[in-house]
């Protein structure tokens, strides 16, 4: 492949402007709600009780901020244009925060501080007031606002803004944001894998361009996707599985992978990898056919430039299988919450090259401890280590810096090590 093609592919993966059909992460109100969407002519996002078409987001750079507007054609999202002036006012606010003498000794919490009623607000809306106008009106009509500390004034403003003038931030779906979002919304689907743990897995397993990475991904494709992202359309991530049906890798579809990257995501059953069973010959024929049709379709694409997406997770080609059997994989990652770590590692470790690193993720410690012990006893690996990352976020504000009050207390355990070449494995 020529370098120009490669560079195009890379820029493709690293696109910073959205396009029709691209997958996006919508961050609504500063992380309060996170929604994965696909930008099409008809797609919408629901905020409060209104539906907003996503069409205006197409062609905007990732990182753009949108606010809601109620125009003649119904509710819509409009891009917020930030100017240098905004920045200055923010700076001023920060300076004010430094001197503070007010406190809440006079505050009586009897729910009478706000004189604006729900009807008043509805009335303002009907007259076409913007969300920000309503927020200002609420502040003007709050009897207690002036006496609040500037910090709690800011908090009040933010709270009202989220309700009456929600903001939508357009985010790139990357391993980082996808893992973060799943961890927040559906932690069980990714086996409670926190993003810092995922980052450690990718480091310990030495995933890099041109690697051949064997994965047992039973956490929805989170590992597969993160690995494919780091491979950038080179090497292979091979998802192996027991039995007849491969594990779901639905999360992979959230990444904006191009064909080159999708083609590098393949599957292969453990039986076929081990090379036992009569299946082999049949498989060889069918995979030959597959690769034939594959060639055709790539030619088609170049000729007619009709976009035909390559599907991630096709069966590995016989050439690849042969090469892996001959050379071994360069990394191994196992994330199988429901399979005993030792029993799976015993099966797949022989396919890993000597001196290659492996990582096993689990949300419980004991299976990893047992597995580590067995690997030691069997002299299969060195540099064995069980680690658990700890992650704490900080609020950083003038004179108000401290760790967040709430934090995730657990992000999973990982067992890492390096396979060695001992007498037993060489005779194999």
């Amino acid at each position: 492949m020529s370098t120009t093609v490669e560079q195009q592919d890379n820029s493709n993966q690293n696109r910073r402007i959205t396009w029709e059909g691209c997958s996006v992460l919508l961050d609504i109100n500063d992380g309060d709600r996170l929604v994965f969407s696909r930008l099409t002519a008809g797609s919408i996002v629901k905020i409060g009780n209104k539906n907003y078409p996503l069409r205006p987001l197409i062609g905007c750079p990732f990182g753009s901020l949108f606010q809601v507007e109620s125009g003649e054609n119904g509710p819509s999202l409009a891009r917020v244009i930030s100017t240098a002036e905004d920045n200055n006012t923010e700076d001023k606010k920060e300076c004010d925060l430094k001197e503070e003498s007010r406190d809440n000794r006079a505050l009586i919490d009897n729910n009478t501080a706000q004189t604006l009623t729900g009807e008043d607000i509805e009335g303002m809306r009907r007259q076409g007031a913007s969300g920000n106008d309503i927020v200002e009106a609420l502040i003007a009509n709050s009897a207690t606002f002036e006496n609040k500390t500037s910090f709690s004034q800011e908090k009040y403003r933010l709270k009202k803004q989220k309700k009456y003038a929600p903001k939508v931030l357009l985010r790139r779906p990357f391993a980082r944001s996808i893992c973060d979002t799943y961890f927040k919304k559906y932690p069980a689907r990714i086996g409670f894998l926190r993003v810092d743990t995922l980052s450690l897995i990718l480091s310990f397993s030495n995933v890099t361009a041109n690697s051949d990475v064997l994965v047992v991904d039973m956490i929805g494709g989170m590992i597969t996707g993160a690995v494919a992202e780091r491979l950038g359309g080179t090497g292979y991530v091979c998802n192996t599985y027991r039995g007849d049906s491969p594990y779901s890798i639905e999360i992979v579809r959230i990444f904006n992978f191009n064909d080159e990257i999708n083609k590098r995501i393949v599957r292969l059953s453990l039986g076929e990898l081990s090379g036992n069973g009569d299946l082999k010959e049949n498989e060889m024929i069918s995979s030959n056919q597959e690769s034939l049709t594959f060639e055709e379709s790539t030619e088609d694409k170049i000729a007619s430039k009709i976009y035909k997406a390559a599907k991630p997770g096709e069966k590995a080609s016989q050439d690849s299988i042969n090469s892996w059997k001959e050379n071994g994989f360069s990394s191994l990652i196992i994330a199988a919450p429901d399979v005993d770590a030792w029993s799976i590692v015993k099966e797949v470790l022989p396919f890993l090259s000597f001196s290659a690193p492996f990582v096993i993720y689990h949300q419980y410690l004991q299976p990893l401890a047992t597995c580590m012990h067995n690997l030691q006893v069997e002299k299969m690996a060195i540099g064995l280590q069980i680690t658990e990352p700890w992650l704490r976020e900080y609020q950083v504000l003038p004179s108000r810096t401290h760790p967040h009050m709430q934090m995730s207390a657990f992000g999973g355990y990982i067992l890492s090590g390096t396979k060695i070449c001992n007498e037993k494995s060489t005779t194999q």
Binding site: R16, R176, S203, G232, S330, V396
Partner: protein
């Protein structure tokens, strides 16, 4: 170190050759980087190892000294390199490194800027993440240190991916020819706020900046400076806890009836208390894990921010 060169890629058939860089592994906390040279020897507490004995052996193999002591020979990875490199400065370790790379959203093809280079621990991992088509531009104001880093990258085979410049980034900012080209910028400087305006110029829109600082006062000032051109400003601390695993024989508490685990009758238990604790005849081994007694309690704060998109 990286499989960008297919002949250096790990494989069952890949053997150690003259000139290879190997990591000599004695123990998990005792490793050394050695360049294989046919006529050389390695001497350590296990005895004398002849390099010529190593040539032709697969990576990951065990080799013996003249006294029968042994070590393992491993292929270098950025993780192993971080454990063996010569410390010319305080270095970043795996937890911070991994988190930085994930949060900077580095993928093959990215352009990333770093200052200072220091001992090149992070640089090696940055190079791994952007290979084979991306590039790391790293700067250090210390000429000797920059030179030593350059030699290291030569040794580890990363020279094509990394450019080391001698430059005071706090004082002069990043070079103008990199304006608008960086996908990400990493700062490990005593006064990062001085370099932030320049870092902002280098970044593409929505590009990510990370500043590593050991002290909270540095974080405070950096965050204030970031507020003008950046958004999504977040500060984290990431640490690692390691576990010790041990197999031990555990004594079992047995009731008179000999049914371990059955709830013992209180009165009976008092009568013949002494006889209840006895070694279980059947081998009852247990694998147990506990956190290691000591750990790094602090490395530094990681502050991330995204360059605002100005429409």
């Amino acid at each position: 170190m990286l499989p960008t060169d297919p002949t250096k890629k790990l494989s069952f058939k890949r053997h150690i050759t003259d000139g290879d860089l190997v990591i000599v592994y004695e123990k998990h906390d005792n490793m050394k980087a050695v360049k294989v040279s046919e006529k050389s020897v390695l001497e350590n507490r296990f005895g004398v190892f002849k390099h010529s004995d190593w040539i032709g052996k697969p990576f990951g193999c065990k080799v013996s000294s003249h006294k029968g002591g042994f070590v393992y020979l491993l292929a270098p990875t950025p993780e192993l390199w971080t454990l063996v490199l010569s410390h010319r400065t305080q270095i970043l370790y795996i937890a911070d490194i991994s988190f930085v790379i994930m949060y900077l959203e580095l993928i093959p093809g990215c352009v990333v800027l770093e200052s200072g280079t220091g001992s090149g621990s992070l640089t090696t991992s940055l190079a791994r993440s952007i290979a084979p088509t991306g590039h790391v531009y790293t700067f250090d104001f210390h000429e000797q240190r920059a030179m030593a880093a350059r030699e290291d990258f030569e040794r580890t085979g990363l020279s094509d991916l990394v450019s080391v410049g001698v430059r005071d980034i706090q004082g002069e900012g990043f070079p103008k020819d990199l304006i608008g080209r960086a996908d990400a910028v990493f700062l490990d400087l005593p006064q990062p706020w001085l370099a932030i305006p320049s870092a902002g110029q280098m970044l593409k829109e929505d590009g990510v900046l990370c500043s590593f600082s050991p002290c909270i006062e540095q974080v405070q000032r950096s965050s204030e400076t970031l507020a003008s051109n950046f958004t999504d400003i977040r500060t984290f601390e990431v640490l690692l806890r390691t576990y010790e695993v041990r197999e031990a024989k555990m004594e079992q508490c047995q009731t008179e009836e000999g049914t371990p685990g059955a709830r013992p009758n209180k009165r009976k238990q008092r009568v013949s208390e002494a006889s209840h604790w006895e070694q279980d005849k059947s081998d009852s081994h247990m694998v147990m894990a506990r956190p290691s007694g000591e750990a790094k309690g602090h490395t530094g704060y990681l502050t991330f921010a995204r360059l605002k998109c100005v429409a």
